[in-house]
C-alpha cells in the first residue's frame, strides 16, 4: 500500500518534470513554484518528526533568498556559490536560534518560531539600505550556473526539478537511516529515547539545521526565479502554509508533505488575483483536518475501506471458533 503511494507520487512528479515545459511559460512558472513548496514542506519534516512544532520555516527561506540575491546582484557571483552561501547562512542562523530554543517544548517552541519569523521579516523590512525594505528587492539576476546563464524559464524549471530531486533524495535517505529512526523516536517519546542514551538536544538541533539548509536552498532558487523579493512574503502567514502542507498531506509518510504541497499550491493558483484564492485553500485545509486527520495520503486507504464495507460477503470467513 505504502509502496504504491510512493510509486504514484514519484510517477506524477516525473511526469510533471518532463511534460510541463511543453505547456508554456505560465505553467512552467506555476509548477516551478510547486517544486519550491515541495522542498520547503519536505525539509520541515525532520523537525516535525522530532516533535518540534516549527512555524517559522519561511524565515530561513528568507535568509537564503536575500543572501543569494544580494551576492549575485552586487558581486556577480555564480549561482552555485550564492546558493551554497544562502543555504549555509540560513543554517547558521537556524543553529543560533535553535540551540537555545531546544530546551523548550511544544507550544513554547512554536511561539519562539513565530516570534522569530516576524523578527526576520521585520529586519528585512527595516534594513532598507540593504534590502530596500518594503519596496522590495528587484533586479536580481537570473541563475548563472557553472558559467551558463539560465535565460529561459524552462531551463530554470529544470534547475528547480534538479534541486528538488537532490533535496528529496537526501531527506529520504536521512529519514530511512538510523538517524531518521532516532528522530522519530524522539518525536514519539523523548524521555524514553533519552533513557536509552540518545542525546536529544543534538539530534533535534541536527533535524532543525537540515531543515534550515534546504529552506535556504529553496529561498535562493526562488530569488533568482521570481527575481523580486518582498519581506511580507516571508512572514508568519506564509510560514504557517508550510506547516499546513505537512499536515494536509499527511504526517505519517515521507511523501505526505510532497502531496500536501502539490495539492494546495495547485489549488490556489487558478484563483490568483480573485477573492476565492485563499477561500478554497482554507476550506481544503479544514476539510482535510476534520475528516482526514492522517492527511491526504490516507485517502486511498479510506476509500478502499469504504469499498470493503460495501462488500456484503466477506471473501474469507472470520476466524470464529
Amino acid at each position: 500500500m505504502r509502496r504504491a503511494i510512493v510509486l504514484v507520487v514519484l510517477a506524477v512528479l516525473a511526469v510533471a518534470a518532463l511534460l510541463v515545459p511543453l505547456l508554456g511559460d505560465y505553467y512552467i512558472h506555476v509548477f516551478a513554484l510547486v517544486f519550491i513548496n515541495i522542498i520547503l514542506a519536505a525539509s520541515l519534516r525532520p523537525s516535525l518528526n522530532c516533535g518540534q512544532l516549527n512555524i517559522g520555516h519561511s524565515a530561513f527561506m528568507c535568509v537564503g533568498a536575500y543572501t543569494s540575491a544580494l551576492l549575485a546582484k552586487h558581486y556577480a557571483l555564480p549561482f552555485e556559490l550564492t546558493l551554497l552561501a544562502g543555504a549555509l547562512l540560513a543554517t547558521v542562523v537556524g543553529l543560533i536560534v535553535g540551540y537555545p530554543a531546544l530546551r523548550l517544548r511544544g507550544v513554547y517552541f512554536a511561539m519562539v518560531t513565530v516570534a522569530f519569523v516576524e523578527v526576520i521579516r521585520l529586519i528585512a523590512a527595516i534594513w532598507v539600505p540593504l534590502t530596500r525594505g518594503n519596496s522590495g528587492l528587484s533586479g536580481i539576476p537570473k541563475p548563472n550556473l557553472l558559467g551558463f546563464t539560465l535565460v529561459s524559464k524552462s531551463s530554470q524549471y529544470y534547475l528547480a526539478v534538479a534541486l528538488t530531486a537532490i533535496a528529496l533524495f537526501v531527506l529520504w535517505r536521512l529519514e530511512r537511516s538510523r538517524l531518521g529512526l532516532t528522530w522519530r523516536s524522539i518525536g514519539l517519546a523523548d524521555n524514553l529515547a533519552q533513557s536509552l542514551g540518545v542525546n536529544i538536544a543534538a539530534h533535534k538541533l541536527l533535524a532543525f539545521a537540515v531543515g534550515c539548509f534546504f529552506a535556504g536552498v529553496a529561498g535562493a532558487f526562488y530569488a533568482h526565479f521570481i527575481r523580486f523579493l518582498f519581506p511580507p512574503e516571508f512572514g508568519f502567514l506564509v510560514a504557517t502554509n508550510i506547516l499546513v502542507y505537512n499536515f494536509v498531506g499527511g504526517r505519517g509518510h515521507f511523501v505526505g508533505p510532497i502531496v500536501g504541497a502539490t495539492f494546495l499550491s495547485l489549488l490556489s493558483e487558478p484563483f490568483r488575483g480573485s477573492a476565492y484564492e485563499t477561500i478554497f485553500f482554507s476550506i481544503a485545509m479544514l476539510l482535510t483536518i476534520l475528516f482526514l486527520p492522517g492527511g491526504l495520503i490516507t485517502l486511498p486507504g479510506k476509500l478502499a475501506e469504504l469499498r470493503w464495507w460495501r462488500a456484503t460477503a466477506a471473501p474469507t470467513p472470520s476466524p470464529a471458533a
Partner: protein, 390 residues
C-alpha cells in the same frame, strides 16, 4: 488489488487537481485583450476600481460602435483585470499571469512599487504598459514601452506656485507618505521643489501601507508645528485615517495631495468638517464641464454610482485607443511610436505624451491639470494648470 485502486484514485485526483489548468478555449480572432492589474480591494481600492471601470466603459462604448478599426478589420476590445490588493508580490504574480497565461500585449498597472517590481519582465516580454504609478525611473529611456498615463510630481508640483501666491501665510511643510518606491520618489521631488520655492520642510515621515494607527508618527510630525501636511502618494483609506487622527491630536492646518485622492472617501472616514480646505489634484466634483457631465451620466448608468476618480483614470484607455487608431497596427512598438506623437482628447482637454527634457524620453502624459479645494465636503475646482514642461 487494493494498490491498483489506490493508484487509480491518486491518478484521478491528480487529473482533477490539474484540470483548472486546461488551456483556455481559443478566443475569437478579432479581439484585442488589454490587461489591468490594479488594487480592487483594500485601502487603495478607491483608485483601482475606477481605473478598471473607466477602461471598461471606454472599451464598451467603442465596441458598441463596431469596435476599433485597423485597416479593413474591426476589433473588439476586452479588459482582463486582476486585483493585486497593492501587495507587490500579488502585483508581480498577476502581471505574470496576464503576460504568460492570458497572452496580453498591452497592460495598465496601478501602483508605483508594483510597476517597479515588474519593470524587467515587462521590458523583456516587450509588453506595452500604460501605468498609473509614481516611481523613480519609471519614465526613462530604459523603459521605451512604458507610457505614464497620469501627471506625476514633476508636473503637479506646479500647484505649489499657486499656493505660494494665494496663501503666503503657509510656510512650514511636513510630508507623510508610504514607505516604498512610490512614497520615496514622490517626496523627493516634492520636497526639493517646495524648498526651492522657499518653504521649510520641517518633517519627512513614511508609513507602512498596512498601518492604521498613525498616532506615533503624527505626534512626531506635529511636534514640529507644520502649517500644512502633504500626504502625496498615500491612498484614500490611509489619508482618511491620517486626517482623522491628526485632528484628534489638535492639528488645525491644511492637508494637500497633489497626486490624486478621492476626497469623498476621505471625508467619509475623517468626517466632513475635518477635511475642510484640503487641496487635491485630479479629483473634481464641482463644477464639471459639459464633457465630463456626459461622462458622469454614462459612468453612473453603467456602474450604478458615480466616481470622480474615473475622470483622470480613463487616460490609459483614451491614450491606447488613440494610438492604435493612429498606428493602424497591433504591434506594440508601432503603437508606442504613435503614442509619442499622437494628440488626443481626454476628459480635461487635449493631451499628448512628452517631457523629453525632464525624463530623457517623451513618455509622460501632459494636459491641463485640475486642482481642487474641499469645501463643505465637496471638491471644488480652483485652477487648471498647464504642465511645466513639454
Amino acid at each position: 488489488m487494493r494498490s491498483k485502486r489506490s493508484v487509480m484514485w491518486l491518478a484521478f485526483l491528480t487529473v482533477a487537481a490539474l484540470s483548472p489548468f486546461a488551456p483556455p478555449t481559443v478566443c475569437a480572432q478579432d479581439v484585442i485583450r488589454f490587461g489591468v492589474s490594479t488594487p480592487l480591494s483594500g485601502p487603495a481600492a478607491p483608485w483601482g476600481i475606477p481605473h478598471k471601470n473607466a477602461t471598461e466603459l471606454i472599451f464598451d462604448e467603442l465596441n458598441a460602435q463596431g469596435g476599433l478599426a485597423i485597416g479593413s478589420k474591426k476589433y473588439r476590445l476586452e479588459v482582463v483585470a486582476y486585483d493585486h490588493k497593492y501587495v507587490i508580490a500579488e502585483g508581480v504574480a498577476t502581471v505574470n499571469r496576464l503576460i504568460a497565461k492570458d497572452g496580453v500585449k498591452y497592460i495598465s498597472v496601478l501602483g508605483g512599487s508594483v510597476v517597479k517590481a515588474i519593470e524587467e519582465p515587462v521590458n523583456e516580454s516587450r509588453v506595452l504598459n500604460l501605468p498609473l504609478a509614481y516611481a523613480d525611473g519609471l519614465v526613462s529611456p530604459k523603459n521605451p514601452l512604458t507610457f505614464h498615463a497620469f501627471p506625476s510630481p514633476p508636473e503637479t508640483t506646479a500647484f505649489w506656485k499657486w499656493i505660494k501666491e494665494k496663501h503666503p501665510q503657509i510656510k512650514r511643510v511636513a510630508t507623510l507618505s508610504p514607505n516604498d518606491d512610490t512614497g520615496w520618489w514622490s517626496i523627493k521631488v516634492e520636497a526639493a521643489y517646495v524648498q526651492k520655492l522657499g518653504y521649510e520642510v520641517v518633517a519627512k515621515e513614511f508609513f507602512e501601507r498596512t498601518m492604521t494607527d498613525f498616532n506615533p508618527v503624527l505626534l512626531r510630525i506635529l511636534a514640529q508645528k507644520p502649517d500644512i501636511i502633504s500626504v502625496l502618494a498615500s491612498p484614500a483609506g490611509s489619508v482618511g485615517l491620517v486626517i482623522k487622527q491628526a485632528r484628534e491630536l489638535g492639528f488645525k492646518g491644511r492637508f494637500i495631495h497633489i497626486g490624486q485622492i478621492d476626497t469623498s472617501v476621505v471625508a467619509n472616514i475623517a468626517g466632513k468638517a475635518n477635511v475642510e480646505g484640503t487641496w487635491v489634484h485630479g479629483y473634481v466634483q464641482n463644477p464639471l464641464p459639459e464633457k465630463i457631465k456626459s461622462w458622469q451620466a454614462r459612468y453612473t448608468k453603467k456602474y450604478g454610482e458615480w466616481n470622480a476618480t474615473s475622470i483622470d483614470f480613463a487616460n490609459p484607455a483614451f491614450a491606447f485607443v488613440a494610438a492604435v487608431k493612429k498606428a493602424q497596427s497591433l504591434d506594440q512598438k508601432k503603437i508606442a511610436e504613435a503614442l509619442q506623437t499622437v494628440e488626443f482628447e481626454n476628459l480635461w482637454g487635449m493631451a499628448h505624451f512628452g517631457g523629453k527634457e525632464y525624463y530623457g524620453i517623451g513618455n509622460q502624459i501632459l494636459y491641463p491639470m485640475p486642482f481642487s479645494e474641499v469645501r463643505d465636503g465637496v471638491a471644488n475646482l480652483v485652477v487648471q494648470l498647464a504642465p511645466p514642461h513639454n
